[in-house]
């Protein structure tokens, strides 16, 4: 039943992505859409972890940053082809996440938050400090993304690349959610002990989803590094991690559509808030607090249940 709904949802999204450029008057709007797309890819992965498995991570920008820096360093310093660098980055991040996952995911609640936060901060300090390799606080350029002699040059092309990658990411996530793995994850979210009692190897599934979400972040980071003229450690710091988590929770946990809405909304918000200049931080903080206080379950589920109530 859910499977069909999800396929329809994916098709609708594909149509939206296809016609959206009609409403993007210039490169500035393309840029916002592309940034939203990158964030959405990370959030779709992170939502598997937070929304479905019920495990928080305050360090996913670390994985995003590692992917970005892997691409930048391998391409500019060692002349690797971008696609190979992207895969190598994903592999490194996947292995790192796998090694860290077992001890970390034993932790619960606030202790898990602390550990993931710690990992994210350590990664961003290393990126800031090892200047000979990473370029330090000034960052490093990854160069343009090229594959088989073709180079992505315009914002328009980037839009299609990011849109396509996002659709693939959602398709993969949907498959995972609908598989036995997804059922096991929902059981873990409901009650971990309960899931174990009925024979779910909870540790294995939590590790799996942690690795998948880290790899999603890494791939998005790699592409992002090629899209930007320069990647800086700020793209991997604590606040970027918070931004990702906020997007997932803002849109509505355990809903891929919710993550998308959250990513698009919170990517566009800072662009709107620049009007307020110095008051930007204050307003962003107030919006974060306000939405979470009045819609603790997130935007999409809250609006959804409002609609249902109207109809009923």
């Amino acid at each position: 039943m859910f499977r069909n709904e999800r396929m329809i949802g994916l098709a609708v999204l594909a149509v939206i992505i296809a016609i959206l450029p009609q409403f993007l008057p210039n490169n500035y709007y393309y840029d916002v859409a592309i940034q939203a797309g990158f964030n959405a890819i990370v959030c779709v992965g992170l939502n598997l972890l937070i929304g479905y498995a019920g495990q928080i991570s305050l360090g996913h920008a670390g994985f995003f940053g590692l992917g970005a820096y892997a691409s930048a360093i391998l391409c500019t310093r060692y002349g690797w082809p971008p696609i190979l660098a992207l895969l190598a980055g994903a592999l490194v991040v996947g292995v790192l996440a796998f090694v860290l996952a077992r001890p970390i995911l034993k932790l619960k609640g606030h202790y898990l938050a602390m550990a993931t936060l710690g990992i994210g901060i350590i990664i961003s300090i290393v990126l800031n400090t090892e200047a000979q390799i990473t370029g330090g606080p000034d960052g490093i350029s990854a160069g343009p993304f090229s594959i088989g002699g073709y180079t992505i040059k315009t914002e328009q092309t980037w839009y299609w690349v990011v849109g396509g990658t996002l659709l693939v990411a959602i398709w993969l996530a949907n498959n995972l959610v609908d598989s036995p793995v997804g059922r096991a994850l929902r059981a873990v979210n409901g009650s971990e002990v309960g899931a174990e009692v009925v024979g779910v190897d909870t540790a294995r599934y939590k590790v799996l989803v942690f690795v998948v979400s880290a790899v999603f972040a890494s791939v998005a980071g790699s592409l992002f590094a090629h899209y930007l003229p320069q990647i800086t450690p700020a793209k991997a710091d604590f606040f970027k991690s918070i931004e990702f988590v906020t997007m997932v929770v803002f849109g509505g946990m355990a809903s891929t559509f919710g993550s998308l809405v959250g990513a698009v909304f919170l990517s566009a918000l800072p662009q709107v808030l620049t009007v307020f200049e110095d008051y930007e931080a204050m307003i962003l903080g107030a919006i974060m607090m306000g939405t979470m206080i009045f819609m603790p379950r997130g935007l999409v589920p809250t609006l959804g249940s409002l609609l249902v109530r109207r109809r009923g």
Partner: protein, 291 residues
Amino acid sequence: MLASFLQFVFSGITVGSIYALCGLGFSIIFNASHVINFAQGEFIMIGGMATVSLVALGVPLPVAILLAILATMLVGFALEKFAVEPARKASVTTLIIITIGASIFLRGIAQELWDKNFHKLPPFSGDQPFLIAGASLMPQSLWVIGVTVVVIVGLGWFFNRTLEGKAMLATSFNTLAAQLVGVNTKKVLLMSFGLSAMLGAIGGIVITPITFTNYETGIMLGLKGFSAAVLGGLGNGMGAVVGGLIVGIAEAMAAGYFSSAYKDAVAFIIILFVLFFMPSGLFGKSGTERV
């Protein structure tokens, strides 16, 4: 050799005291509400910045300190009343985002109210260092350590000897049971935010003559205070103090003997190692999940 070692110990204990006060703030709020208040670092910043401005306006230092502490406590009460209380039933993740939103909001205000520059206070009693075995100890460090000890003793008295303190302890053990015996747990929640804000402000004020302060100082101090609290076992007051001192001393040693660039990473490396082997911190209760 000994002199430099001693020097690192002194600076470690000084900054560790601030982490301890901050960690205590996390623990008190966690005990009363199971909320992790990510705006704890902002209390430190507000305490320091408010004192600096009041002194600049010509208010005598002791009065400025008192007013700054009161102002920070008001912020703490407001945070509880308008941001945490309405979302009491929300999930852990949602509450984390609310308090982080609050910290961004408070930083935004601080940046407008004051500016982005660093500010300093004069040391409370001169800057003539004491020489101990070749290492120099600044009088302000003694102020930091002394005030921290007084605060910890005061908290011990408050929690064990006063009715309000006992009510807070009772709430942390079992909220429902505390309500049943007539404890006003809503008031306890409000008090816990006021008390934590007070601890943060005190820490921020005594450290400002040493480290200076600006609108962003609260970020790292807050995160390290959180790691101190987790290191000692969340909700364990003495654990937070010990955790704070461990983090402070380890950080000073790392900066002195290894690399000052990685100073800020030390707290998080320690916390990861400890959590890998002791998932509830050094002195935390190992909980079991109820089905």
